[in-house]
């Protein structure tokens, strides 16, 4: 199963302050650990909300508001997409995110919908037990 790990913003990220060299190294090491463990699928850091915008939908109309947005703690500063066996494993990985002792922030873990979450309807159903060659002929390939 996959999880999106959402790193929340704080005053620093919203001010567009870049991480220190040490922070960058630590985060780099952490990401490398995720890659080496085969769990990292994707991950990006986000620019402050001042460079973003919101599109509001109401009554069939859209209204665009440019950033910055005020509710700092509800904003997102970055994300990872990881593959883990359980939510507990995802939690364990998140506990290892290098956040300095002087920092106050929150990281949210959300599970990504997978094909099987849509019920039996989406579980694969072709099995050719006799065909150990796993040969899939192009026209019959899935």
């Amino acid at each position: 199963m996959r999880f999106m790990i959402i790193l929340k913003s704080d005053e620093r990220t919203e001010a567009g302050q870049l991480p220190t060299e040490q922070e960058l190294t630590e985060m780099g090491n952490y990401n490398e650990e995720l890659v080496k463990a085969g769990v990292m699928l994707a991950g990006e850091g986000l620019q402050p909300s001042s460079k973003g915008a919101r599109v509001r939908f109401s009554g069939g109309n859209t209204t665009v508001t440019d950033g910055p947005f005020s509710e700092t703690k509800e904003l997102i500063a970055g994300f990872w997409l990881i593959q883990a066996k359980s939510k507990d494993e995802a939690v364990e990985w998140v506990k290892r995110v290098p956040i300095g002792a002087d920092q106050e922030t929150e990281i949210e873990i959300r599970q990504v919908f997978e094909a099987e979450d849509f019920g039996d309807a989406y579980t694969p159903e072709v099995r050719e037990q006799e065909d150990r060659l796993r040969a899939q002929v192009e026209a019959n390939q899935q």
Partner: protein
């Protein structure tokens, strides 16, 4: 291992939820750290069976201590330290025993030299090497050692590297738990009996042994990819497990193109999982799939790995070639955009590597798509006597399809009926009979 305490136990002590939470955390730590701990301990004691037992001892210690003292800051290092301490105790006990035996032998047969304590490294070896990556690779190569049967390799790899429980492995392979436990015990015994050295093979030896590792990973992937409906959730999870293993090996052996090729192949195949079955579980063929449901992130990851394999000079590796074929489909926004000429040529290269009638049949289909059904049929007709394809329903099925496109309905119908009689898959039989009837009506 069963680290999950029942949460709905009535009348438990008030600390029960806290203990349960710690147990779940320990289970997660085990999943993340067990392979590295077992690998590090194997380096010390030179036997995976013993190393796994020591690691389990460390886990038991964690289950006893962490609920009280809290989860340590670096849980992996904690487990490793406890495991190493027990390993050193074990080695010392063994050395004492061997000294005693040697002494005894000396006393019984004066004049003979005391037996050397060779084979068992002293505790100083604990600090000799700390290369976690090398240890992990050593463990992977040991679990996939050719002295083991394929089934044993799969079970041992999932157990030692994947950190899966015996129960999970049993569910994944639709086997009983005792059967899997027995398989793992026997595999460990075989490794010990064959005195398989614990190290990472180099150069020629690496080239000889790597295919077994890759095969194990791809078999695990396919076990998940071909899982049937209503199966345990553990089976589809195998695809993810195999991808994880593949990515780990790719990181550990960054210069090996075939590892990249395998990862590319698995990523691209996995990208279609959402699109390959319909609402009632019926299979949807590649060309009929809704490409909007293909996972673009996995495709991108697959294409990147494929480019890496090619850059490393591995474009003609068997996995890289299969990945390149999968990539042709992945790159095509619509079925009609598919570069069939390139697919046909890739199958041609693949056929040169491993003369397989199944690959030839694939090539024939690709040629028919690129150059028309006549050209494809000419190739298929060369395969009708191949012994490997006897009883293989896709041969008459492909032939029927080409004949039908060539406006030869009677022959097409016969072929579809033959194919229907050969397949054991009910849905497929229905589909083939449908095609047989349709061909007869034209």
């Amino acid at each position: 291992m069963d680290a999950t305490a029942s949460k709905d136990e009535l009348g438990g002590p008030p600390t029960q939820p806290a203990i349960s939470a710690t147990h779940r955390a320990i289970e997660a730590v085990w999943r993340i750290e067990s392979a590295r701990v077992i690998a590090g301990l194997t380096r010390l004691v030179r036997d995976v069976g013993t190393a796994e037992e020591l690691a389990q001892d460390a886990l038991v210690a964690a289950l006893e201590q962490w609920p009280v003292a809290g989860v340590p800051r670096n849980p992996g290092a904690w487990l490793m330290a406890v495991g190493k301490r027990r390993a050193i105790d074990l080695i010392r006990r063994k050395e004492r025993l061997e000294r005693k035996q040697a002494q005894l032998g000396h006393e019984l047969a004066p004049g003979t030299a005391p037996k050397a304590t060779g084979g068992v490294p002293g505790p100083q070896a604990a600090t000799a090497t700390d290369d976690i990556g090398d240890d992990l690779l050593g463990l992977i190569f040991t679990a996939c050692h050719p002295v083991l049967s394929t089934e044993a390799r799969l079970a041992l790899t999932l157990r030692l590297i994947g950190g899966l429980t015996t129960d999970e492995i049993a569910r994944a392979f639709l086997a009983s738990e005792p059967a899997i436990a027995q398989r793992i015990v026997r595999a460990k015994r075989t490794l010990a009996g064959a005195h398989v050295p614990f190290d990472v093979p180099r150069d020629d030896e690496l080239a000889r042994r790597l295919p077994s590792v890759l095969e194990v990973i791809y078999l695990i992937f396919n076990e998940g990819y071909s899982a049937t409906a209503g199966d345990d959730w553990m089976r589809p999870e195998l695809c993810g497990e195999a991808l994880r293993l593949g990515r780990i090996v790719a990181e550990l052996l960054p210069a090996e193109p075939e590892v990249q090729g395998l990862v590319a192949l698995m990523e691209i195949q996995a990208s279609r999982i959402r699109a390959r079955t319909g609402p009632s579980g019926e299979p949807i063929l590649l060309l009929d799939q809704n490409r909007g449901r293909w996972d673009q992130m996995l495709i991108r990851r697959g294409l990147t790995a494929l480019a890496r394999a090619e850059r490393l000079g591995g474009a003609n590796g068997s996995y890289a070639l299969q990945a390149a074929i999968a990539a042709c489909h992945a790159r095509a926004g619509a079925p009609e955009d598919t570069d069939w000429a390139r697919i046909a040529s890739l199958y041609g290269t693949l056929a040169q590597r491993s003369a397989s009638p199944v690959v030839e049949l694939n090539r024939a289909v690709a040629v028919s798509m690129a150059d028309g059904p006549e050209a494809g049929l000419a190739l298929v007709d060369q395969l009708t006597d191949a012994p490997a394809l006897r009883g293989y329903h896709l041969l008459p099925s492909v032939r029927g399809d080409l004949l039908s496109k060539l406006g030869r309905p009677d022959e097409a119908r016969t072929e579809f009926e033959r194919a229907a009689a050969m397949t054991r898959n009910e849905r497929e039989r229905a589909l083939l009979m449908e095609r047989a009837n349709a061909a007869g009506q034209t």
